[in-house]
């Protein structure tokens, strides 16, 4: 599946003194076979952009198409559910009496029958959060922070999207919960779901995504495969981003190591060991 945004602009509070141009002519095409990270400073338009992918926001100019069909055209509005959107801190939107009801909320709203809803909830939980299986009857408010986030994510996954867009999915999670979340997203992706996530952390972007987009003042200022960015790392500095830690560290010793810099820890450590053995 493809999400195509063509020359979209978005203005908040149009025709008021607080009018802000949040998106300024963005064009890009995303494929569900990709894992994409969107980086950018606060206010660069990242969240506004992904809210266009399933039509929550309607562009002030330009259009958004899923598989070539304009999602703001009446006859294609059903397509929007194929793009699942997970807001920042999705757990604050949990409100039902049980975890099950919360996860079932989305599919029910799509008008699915009780049997279908049940199937969808169990499928999402089995795939993404098996540890919640025994907790479907408890109140979502009794879950831990990491579990709440997963329950909220299951609510979106239960609608069986072909694309999953996440706004800073790891904010506030501890490193173990974060690693776990990325592992699960990797599994979802392996089943053919496209992943787009917003992050502030260049290390996460390089570790998980294969395509990296950087936004600034409502524009896409960089959009390239990770591998290509690796060979043009100075582009990051030009845009005010520090390279990933592994690159910084290996770059600092690359002269004495006569190798590198590296983007993968294993390769870096192997090179270090080889060199230390020679010494």
């Amino acid at each position: 599946m493809n999400v195509d945004v063509r020359n979209i602009s978005y203005i908040y509070l149009y025709d008021t003194p607080l009018e802000t141009l949040a998106l300024d002519g963005v064009t890009l095409s995303l494929d569900s076979r990709e894992k994409t990270a969107i980086l950018g400073q606060t206010g660069s338009g990242k969240s506004t952009l992904i809210q266009h992918f399933n039509g929550i926001l309607k562009p002030s100019a330009g259009d958004v198409a899923l598989d070539g069909k304009n999602i703001h055209h009446k006859s294609f509005s059903g397509l929007r559910r194929k793009v699942g959107l997970v807001f920042q801190f999705p757990e604050i939107q949990l409100f039902e009496e049980s975890v099950y009801e919360d996860i079932a909320f989305g599919p029910k709203n799509l008008g699915w029958g009780p049997h279908e809803v049940r199937e969808a909830v169990f499928r999402a939980v089995a795939l993404f959060a098996p540890e919640l299986k025994g907790k479907l009857d408890v109140s979502p408010f009794s879950l831990s922070g990491g579990e709440k986030r997963k329950a909220a994510l299951c609510g979106v996954l239960a609608m069986e999207p072909e694309f999953l867009c996440l706004d800073e999915p790891t904010a506030g999670l501890d490193p173990a919960a974060k690693r776990d979340l990325f592992t699960r997203l990797e599994e979802i992706h392996a089943r053919g779901v496209g992943i787009v996530f917003i992050t502030h952390d260049i290390n996460d972007a390089f570790a998980f995504a294969r395509r990296i987009i950087i936004m600034d003042h409502g524009r896409v200022v960089l959009d390239m495969p990770r591998t290509e960015l690796m060979t043009n790392i100075s582009l990051l500095g030009d845009l005010g981003f520090a390279p990933p830690d592994i690159w910084l560290l290996s770059h600092y010793v690359s002269e004495s190591l006569k190798d590198g810099p590296f983007f993968e820890k294993e390769a870096f450590f192997n090179a270090l060991e080889r060199r230390l053995n020679q010494l």
Binding site: Q41, T42, G43, S144, G145, G146, A171, G172, D174, P175, A176, A177, R179, H200, D201, I202, N203, A242, D245, I246, L248, L249, Y252, V253, S256, L257, K265, F268, F269, L272, R275, L276, L279
Partner: protein, 265 residues
Amino acid sequence: MIRFENVSISFGSFRALDHVSLEISSGEFVGLIGPNGSGKSTLIRLINGLLLPSEGKVIVDGLDTAKDDLFEIRKRAAALFQNPDNQIVAATVEDEVAFGPENLMLHPEEIRRRVEDALNFVDMLHFKDRLTANLSGGQKQRVAFASVIAMESPVYLFDEPTSLIDLQGRKKIIEIIGKLHKKEKTILLVSHFLEEIFLAPRVIVLHEGSVVFDGSPRTLLYRDDVLKLLDFPLPVHLETARHFGLVPEILDLKNVAQALRRKLQ
């Protein structure tokens, strides 16, 4: 300055802290880390009297949090929490920072001095007249920092102050904490970023309500048992230090890189 005497606290059947004893001296900078639910936030809240122990005693600068005046205790230990949006109350930056000192009933001249000093300390003096609502997350957190710094208390408690802000914002916050440490303030920093915790000269690790490690970061780096309990992936510079046996004085990326370069020569 802070003493826990055999402290336990339970919420219903859940024991959040289990017989914890520890002492933090004046001027120490202590990093506190543990998985979610290990009792870190509970420990912080016990120090400034937001929670009281079910058993044992918490003593702050000679005052018992269960018996003595909480106003006096909080004057000595100012706390800052995770989300700046939950602790900013005033419309402008200046009013926000003045809020605490005003509650201390200080002279207006003294309040003005403290506000300016505190904003200067976090490098936000030029934002004095700005609206708090228009600041970025990182800027808001720096204003929240200024608010607690303006209390000019001897002890500062920071509960995950960097978890919701971006990388650049985090670096600034850590710089501010380093500056407070140089001013010989007593600092307790809770964070789940290992790279931040490893900058403190003393690290305490909590696990299921108990202290499982209390020592230097350089020792912690080689304590497999404790790291296993934490189950946090190490940031790459710490993993490199550990793997290649490097122990620079300060365990940040730059010092690890320098130590590594020396080893390669």
